[in-house]
């Protein structure tokens, strides 16, 4: 059964109670052991692989040496025949046939190693994939466990601190109200700011004698005098 299915079954049946663990500590330990075993297998497989690859290379070198020996001796046979020494040619040919037997043997050894390498590489890949899969499953189990413990701690904290959990709507209302308050405060501050800057500008203008002049006694007197004349 897949680990997700196991978690689902556990959640459906009774494990809804807070703090109740979906997978017991024992299950997690077994899992961790399986991962460790797989990792040991992987190490061994990799070690074997390097060994076999070294042997394959040796065999391959032997094959090449034998092949070039054969070619060389074939040359000697030709030379012996050129010299008309039939007996020597036959002797060399016997040597060649011996070399060919060796070559066939060595080729066989090489092929066996080559097959072995393919198999081991395959095994390494499979094991790596399996470890990844185990680790993913273990992470799911541990996360489920951790989340359950965390929510238990959170609920305990809520009840022990006596802080009442607000309903979602109440929380939303409060947050929205606070946001509106902040917004209003900001708007008010901006308004105040702009009023202040207006005022300081008009103060400067007044000081410079620009803009609307304020009336004072002497200006009133001047106006009346002007009317009378």
């Amino acid at each position: 059964m897949s680990i997700l299915k196991k978690i689902m079954t556990a959640v459906r049946g009774g494990a809804r109670e807070m703090g109740e663990l979906v997978v017991d500590a024992n299950g997690t330990r077994i899992f961790e052991q399986e991962i460790k075993d797989a990792q040991t297998h992987l190490q061994k497989a990799k070690h074997d692989l390097t060994d076999v690859m070294a042997k394959q290379m040796q065999a391959s070198r032997q094959v090449k040496t034998l092949q070039s020996d054969i070619t060389e001796h074939e040359g000697y046979v030709a030379q012996a025949l050129d010299k008309g020494d039939e007996n020597l040619a036959l002797e060399i040919a016997e040597k060649i046939s011996q070399l060919e037997v060796d070559l066939a043997e060595q080729q066989q050894v090489h092929d066996t190693f080559a097959n072995h390498v393919v198999r081991l590489k395959d095994l390494v890949k499979k094991t790596e994939r399996q470890i990844k899969d185990y680790e993913r499953q273990l992470s799911m189990v541990k996360t489920t466990e951790s989340v359950q413990k965390a929510s238990a701690a959170i609920t305990d904290n809520f009840s022990s601190s006596n802080s009442k959990i607000l309903s979602a709507k109440d929380s939303l209302d409060r947050i929205k109200k606070r946001q509106q308050d902040n917004f209003d405060r900001l708007a008010a501050a901006e308004e105040l700011e702009s009023e202040n800057s207006d005022k300081s500008l008009s103060d400067k203008m007044k000081a410079a004698g620009i803009g609307e002049e304020t009336t004072n006694a002497s200006s009133v007197l001047d106006r009346i005098k002007a009317k009378r004349s």
């Binding site: 541990k142 996360t143 951790s146 989340v147 238990a152 959170i154 309903s167 979602a168 902040n182």
Partner: protein
């Protein structure tokens, strides 16, 4: 990084993306950090650290708060909203609907802070969006 380191490092930020954080460790079997943003105290984010990930969870509402008979429709809505909602997803823990975000264990402190801010903002948005289904 464990929750204690996290709390210390988050407290070092006087402000991040315009928000201030308040960190409080919650005692229990597993270490949980309660992180609230100023002005969003009602919707704290709970952060816990496992071997592989950092989980940030915000509680939305209990199933008792869901209007009778509208549960299925609300869940459909949640599934539809899951992808458009940045970084967070809807989920359920026992009798509570939550939103959560999961981060890789080697995430930077800035990533974590950004996650918590996004999570909180998403929580407000989603309650607002799902309000019609709530009592």
């Amino acid at each position: 990084m464990n929750t204690r380191d996290l709390a210390l490092r988050i407290s070092d930020f006087s402000s991040f993306e315009g928000y201030q954080f308040d960190c409080q460790p919650i005692p229990g079997d597993t270490e949980v950090l309660q992180i609230t943003l100023t002005d969003y105290e009602e919707l704290p984010a709970f952060v816990s650290v496992t071997d592989t990930q950092i989980l940030c969870i915000t509680y939305l509402f209990t199933q008792d708060e869901v209007r009778n008979g509208s549960k299925a429709e609300m869940m459909e809505e949640m599934l539809e909203l899951n992808i458009p909602m940045p970084l967070s997803s809807f989920a359920k823990l026992a009798d509570r609907y939550v939103i959560f975000g999961a981060l890789a264990i080697n995430s930077s402190i800035e990533d974590i802070c950004h996650e918590i801010i996004t999570l909180t903002e998403n929580a407000v948005e989603s309650i607002d969006a799902l309000e019609e289904f709530l009592i």
